[in-house]
Amino acid sequence: MDDIQKKLALPSKASREDIIGRIVSYSCIAAIIILVISILYFITSRGLATFLTDHVNLWQFLTGKDWNPGSLNAQGKPQVGALPMIVTSFSVTILSALVATPFAIAVALFMTDIAPKSGTKFLQPVIELLVGIPSVVYGFIGLTVVVPVIRNLFGGTGAGILAGTIVLFVMVLPTITSLAVDALRAVPAYFRSASLALGATRFQTIYKVLLRAAMPRLLTAVIFGMARAFGEALAVQMVIGNAVLMPHNLITPTSTLTSQLTTNIGNTIMGTLPNNALWSLALILLLMSLVFNLLVRYIGKRGEIKS
């Protein structure tokens, strides 16, 4: 056996290095998996306690309109109707996405098709700055600017779905915009040139070709925006009014899932029904974020541009 033959058969420093590398990176990834599983497990088990330990009826929880977990209702059952918060959460989410989407697509189109060079150079930092502003600052401005304006215009306290929507609109705008830019940039250039070469105007090209080709990814962008809006806690909590009442219009104080959680989880005692009921709200938030995630995947799979 010659020297080289021996070397080929035996492990060397490099083989040992690679084992170390594998151990290091595999353990990091294992930590992440354990983390995600334990988040899912802990929130779920806490959130289910309301139904399993306290025997609250799931249907009543989801459709009941009275939220006062500390006290019992006429039938001697705890008042844990989460419907007002669910309705409010969905309202602010959908409304803010509806308002933000046209703006987001306009900004994205401006950056990709109307003024690609100067538009990108100028608007990219605008979007990054909007992302960078912390949510408490949005909340603070909502509280000091938006709420008083609404109060002066419509009366009442000013807090409510409208204020929440306005604040969330600005917060989800950059999320939707930057994803919409990616969506439009992913449309191959020859889609544009083919349409323009047929004599279509730029608007016709945008409307009939671009937006259609990019539709699945634009939808994904909007869903990401909605996910952010749905999960946002503090900014909304600061302007929504935090009264657990069924919203009758856009300007009465009400409460979202997140705002109820942040306001009260510190005021309840672990293991009691009021506390468990709040964890059930957290579970709804968790499940909704999984739903948004699945939606994005589903649309993404169906809508890949085949080219």
């Binding site: 080289i4 080929l8 058969a9 420093k13 490099a14 083989s15 690679d18």
Partner: protein, 266 residues
């Protein structure tokens, strides 16, 4: 495209010492059932240049990359690669040692984003050579062998990315031979270079063949005929003919080879 009988072949075994040989090598990329390379059995003579020629997609690069296990992550390779009485295609073999002894230079020059010196010393240090004197010696020798020394000896600390394409490629050769390999695999090393750099590279290769066994994949038939002593012709994943370069280019035994070297192909 004319259809040739792919199973008709003419393969010789060179006389003298054999540095590396393959036995029925078959390569499948990813999970593909379709083999990109079948049944390649070739022997490479020591201290000679062997050229692998053939059209794009003929499997010559795939074959070359299998020789030092560069395809490990992307393909499954069946068959034997014999080197020093060891089948280096076995998973038990220390693949890092294989690559130390069988170096490789790629199509596009790929120097590290480091200085010229560091490009060469990085792998040496990793291999445990720490003596400064020896490191400096190896840098100088390998750069001289790669015919780059005179051009860069005054700015060895300059970024390798500031060199010209031809210089970068010769640096990559120097980087490989600084590891003192036995065999040097070159995957179309001149395809990204201008004619002058190519000519320089060919001279360098001929010089290197005194101390190294060289296997070179090339698109350029003139290049194959200029530098190599043996040539293998690949077609659609099969080795069609392997013989002395002169025979391949002047009196090939197989029709497909004849058509390819005379340019009557496809």
């Amino acid at each position: 495209m004319q259809v040739y009988d792919l199973n008709k072949n003419h393969i010789v075994t060179p006389p003298g010492e054999i540095a590396l040989s393959t036995n029925q090598l078959q390569v499948n990329y990813g999970n593909s059932k379709q083999a990109s390379m079948v049944d390649a059995s070739l022997s490479f003579p020591r201290f000679q240049i062997t050229a692998l020629i053939g059209a794009s997609g003929s499997g010559k690069s795939t074959y070359l990359r299998s020789l030092n296990r560069m395809n490990d992550r992307i393909a499954t390779v069946h068959g034997e690669i014999m080197y020093h009485n060891t089948n280096i295609n076995s998973p038990k073999v220390n693949v890092y040692e294989v690559r130390k002894h069988i170096g490789m230079v790629f199509q596009k020059p790929n120097p590290f984003a480091k200085s010229i010196t560091e490009n060469i010393t990085f792998a040496l240090k990793a291999a445990g050579i720490t003596n400064r004197q020896e490191l400096r010696q190896r840098v100088e020798t390998s750069l001289k062998e790669a015919a780059l020394w005179d051009e860069v000896k005054d700015d060895l600390n300059k970024s390798a990315l500031a060199l010209s394409g031809g210089q970068q490629q010769r640096l990559c050769i120097a980087r490989s031979i600084a590891m003192k390999p036995d065999i040097l695999l070159l995957d179309e090393p001149a395809s990204a270079l201008d004619p002058i750099s190519t000519a320089k590279l060919e001279v360098t290769l001929k010089e290197l063949a005194k101390n190294y066994t060289i296997i070179i994949v090339t698109h350029n038939m003139q290049q194959a005929s200029r530098v190599s002593s043996y040539t293998a012709f690949f077609h659609l994943g099969h080795v069609i003919e392997y013989d002395q370069t002169e025979t391949i280019f002047q009196t090939p035994n197989i029709q497909a080879t004849h058509d390819y070297v005379t340019g009557n192909f496809g």
